[in-house]
Symmetry: C2
Subunit: 183 residues, 2 copies
C-alpha cells in the first residue's frame, strides 16, 4: 500500500478540507497557496466569518524562486496573485501573507491591496524589521497582523522559559504599541 498525503488541492477536495477545518474543527482561518488558482481557493470562501489567508510574498529565502518572477506584462507573480485573487473575495474574507523580510515591497503591495489585512511573519528569528514593516505596510486602520513565533517560543531553553518568553512577548508588544501611535 502506498499512502499519499495531499496538501492543497482542486475544488471538490478543497471543499472537503474546508468543511473539516471550518465546521468540524471550528478553525478561524486557513492559509492557502495560490499555485492551483481560483477553484482551489474558492471552496474555503463559503464560510461566513472565516478567513482565507493567501500566500503572496513569503518571508523565506525560497520566496525568490518563483514569487518574484516577472511576466511578459511586467508583473511579478506575487503581484498577479494579489490582483487576480481580489476577484475571488473581498477584504472581509481574504488576507495575504507578506513576510517581514520583504522591506520596501510592502509599498508595491499596498498599491494593489490598500485595504486588506496583511499577515506578517518574519520579525525576530527571521530578521525582519517591525519598524520597516509598519513604515511601508501600515494603512489607516493599521491593516497588519504581525506574528512572532520563534522569537518567543524559543526565547529560552531552561526552566526560566516562562519568564523569558513573557519578556520577549512584552518587548514585541511594546514595539508594536510604539508603532501604533503613528496611526
Amino acid at each position: 500500500m502506498f499512502f499519499e498525503l495531499k496538501r492543497g488541492d482542486l475544488g471538490n477536495t478543497s471543499a472537503m478540507y474546508a468543511r473539516t477545518f471550518f465546521e468540524e474543527l471550528d478553525i478561524d482561518s486557513v492559509t492557502v497557496a495560490p499555485y492551483m488558482g481560483e477553484d482551489s481557493v474558492t471552496p474555503f470562501l463559503s464560510y461566513e466569518g472565516k478567513w482565507v489567508i493567501l500566500l503572496a510574498l513569503t518571508s523565506n529565502k525560497g520566496s525568490h524562486d518563483f514569487q518574484l518572477t516577472t511576466d511578459t506584462e511586467g508583473e511579478r507573480l506575487f503581484e498577479k496573485v494579489l490582483r487576480k485573487s481580489q476577484q475571488w473575495a473581498d477584504d472581509q474574507q481574504m488576507m495575504y501573507v507578506v513576510g517581514a523580510t520583504q522591506g520596501r515591497a510592502f509599498e508595491d503591495i499596498r498599491k494593489i491591496v490598500p485595504h486588506h489585512f496583511l499577515l506578517v511573519p518574519g520579525i525576530g528569528a527571521q530578521g525582519g524589521s517591525l519598524e520597516e514593516v509598519c513604515k511601508y505596510g501600515m494603512n489607516s486602520q493599521c491593516g497588519l497582523i504581525v506574528n512572532s513565533s520563534r522569537g518567543i517560543i524559543y526565547a529560552d531553553k531552561t526552566e526560566r522559559f516562562a519568564e523569558a518568553a513573557r519578556q520577549a512577548a512584552q518587548e514585541v508588544q511594546q514595539q508594536m504599541a510604539e508603532q501604533l501611535k503613528k496611526l
Copy 2:
C-alpha cells in the same frame, strides 16, 4: 482565540510536518505546492524511500491562473518549477503532478523531465484522455502514475456500488494494459 491552520510553510515548520507525515504516520509521499520555493520543499526530501510530489501543471481550471504565466525569459511558470526543482532532488525522490487534461503539454514537460514519474490525476470525472496522456507523456519505463478517483468511488450511489466500482476500476485497468503494450 483565533485558530489558524497553515498548509504549506517555510523550512522549520516543513521539517516538523515532514517528521509527522513520514515518521509518525508512515506516509509514503507528500504532495507539495512549489510557490514558497526550495526551503519549503527540501525538508520533505531527507527521508529515504519517501517521495515528494511537486505540483507542476494541475488538472483543474485554476491551473490557467498562474501556472501558464510566461516570464520575460519565455518560460512558463510550470516549466520553471520543473527546471529549478531538479536542483533539489533527483528522479528517485521527486515526481510531478501533471493533469490528464493538459494534453500536448506533456510533450513540453517530457523535454524538461524525461525520466521522472508523473502523477496524473484528471482522467474520468475531469475529462482527461488516458490515450492522450500516454501518447505524449509515457517514457521508455512508462513513467506515469495515472489516478482515477471519482470515476471509481462515485461510480454508483445505490447498493450496487461495490459491483459498479469494481467494473469502473477494471475498465481503467484494461485501458491502461492496452496502453502499456505500446512500451
